[in-house]
Amino acid sequence: MKIYFARFIELVGGDPQADRAVPPTGFTARLTLFTAGAMAFLAVFALALSLATGRLADRWASELARTSTLRISAPDDQVDAQVRAALQVLETTPGVAAARALTPDEQRALLAPWFGPDLPVEDLPIPQLVEIIEDADGYDPTGLRARLQAEVPGAVLDDHTRWREPMIAAAGRLRSLGWIALILIAASTAAMITLAAQAALAANAQVIRVMRLVGARDIYIARAFVRRFTLRALAGAAIGTTTGLFAVWLLPSADVAGGFLTGLGYQGLHWFLPLFIPPLAALVAFFATRAAALRTLREQS
């Protein structure tokens, strides 16, 4: 790896003489530039998708994971006793960090969106809610349910997992799709640049023959091609990334749609991540061209 890195650095200094020995090849240059540009543009969006779904999943997970709710429905005269019993059970449950009964005001606030602010909570047969806050390890909901059933007959445990898990799974899946898209983009870039490099090598078979005859080593000839394709990929990807970022920046903000929807854009420091796309494209081009060149040179005798 170290030696590749040294070679990569060497490219920047380069050997202009070797570049001159290989005549410019028009259409492969344009093909590389265009491919790198288009792929970088797509990569900007794939990266945005990954980051946005990652944010989404984290948000859902952290907002919902730590809390669950116990609903206690019992005849008026038994409610207090059952709440006390439930709190006792919860106190001795491993994985529960804290548990407390909501005050009437809090219960009213929760119901306000549905019934308005003036709901006389005290007079209605609505269940008493107990908020459970988990510690980092979480508790075992099945075990807790069994104990509650025995000791607090009116309690129903709602641990949110029912609807939390599929949403987090969906967000995770989306994030993986984003990464897969990035990998596919890198692979297609490598494939296209390999083809372009092979075309350039084939077009220059005679030039390569002459260079071999006067004592050029394969790596020297390869470098002339590698340098060229790497720089082209870097330039193309820089253009594509800039365009892609501009397009993302122009996207309407989706935050107004609600807390769960965070737009496809970049946030904060994440705006700097796409800056890695052009160097990565150059790296892909470097290895793709290098492999293609050394292989072709061996085959060309």
Binding site: Q17, A18, R20, A21, P23, Q206, V207, R209, V210, M211, R212, L213, V214, G215, A216, R217, D218, I219, Y220, L297, R298, S301
Partner: protein, 224 residues
């Protein structure tokens, strides 16, 4: 420098020659002659590692050519200056850059500055320095090829029909250049079917003349 030990070569199935023994000692001057199609060019290609013998052993500077890797072959070629029969140039580069190419590809382009002008004068091509190879005459190309062959100051110079495209006077000049190089201690091997050239050389330098005929390499007879 270069040894051929019982070497055979065949393109596909057809054997071109076999049982070839040749030892190019340092400072020696050899001619290789024989009818057209006898395999002179092929034999030279074995000597600079462009082809691999199909039988026997070729040793380049003591190393078995069959087991050399591609880098080793490249390194050996830096010690062998070759004037190809068809003068291989890079047509998009001016003559000076073509002549300096062996230095360039071996990372010694700094030396080109010092030698190039002398060399261009030596082969009489100063006026053509900026021209592209396709713009040159056959004789000029052959002199340019010779200049490129010697710019690395190689141990061995191999020339394939170096006087094929030029008139008598020019061929004498080219021969003089090669003899000069031999006197400087370079090993020279020239393939030619020009008997006059060989005779002219014999009067100036000790040479051995080899003849490739009927699939064998022989010491040429006394008819010369």
């Amino acid at each position: 420098m270069i040894d051929l030990d019982n070497v055979a070569y065949s393109y596909g199935g057809a054997e071109l020659f076999s049982q070839v023994k040749l030892n190019l000692a340092a400072g020696s001057f050899h001619f290789l002659t024989g009818p057209s199609g006898a395999g002179k060019t092929t034999l030279l290609k074995l000597c600079y590692g462009e082809l691999q013998a199909t039988g026997g052993q070729v040793r380049l500077f003591g190393e078995d050519a069959a087991t050399m890797d591609r880098d080793a072959v490249a390194m050996a070629r830096r010690r062998i200056g070759v004037v190809h029969q068809d003068c291989q140039f890079l047509d998009h580069l001016p003559l000076t850059e073509n002549i300096a190419l062996p230095l360039t590809v071996s990372g010694r382009e700094a030396e080109a500055e010092a030698n190039l002008d002398d060399l261009m004068g030596w082969v009489g091509l100063r006026a053509q320095a900026r021209q592209l190879p396709p713009q040159l005459s056959g004789g000029e190309r052959q002199r340019a090829a010779l200049a490129r062959a010697v710019i690395m100051s190689p141990d061995v110079i191999i020339a394939d029909e170096p006087t094929g495209n030029v008139d008598w006077e020019m061929s004498q000049r080219l021969l003089k250049l090669l003899i000069e190089l031999n006197k400087m201690g370079k090993t020279v091997l020239i393939a030619t079917h020009d008997m006059n050239l060989i005779r002219a050389a014999k009067s100036q330098v000790t040479t051995r003349v080899l003849r490739l005929k009927d699939r064998r390499l022989m010491q040429a007879g006394v008819e010369l």
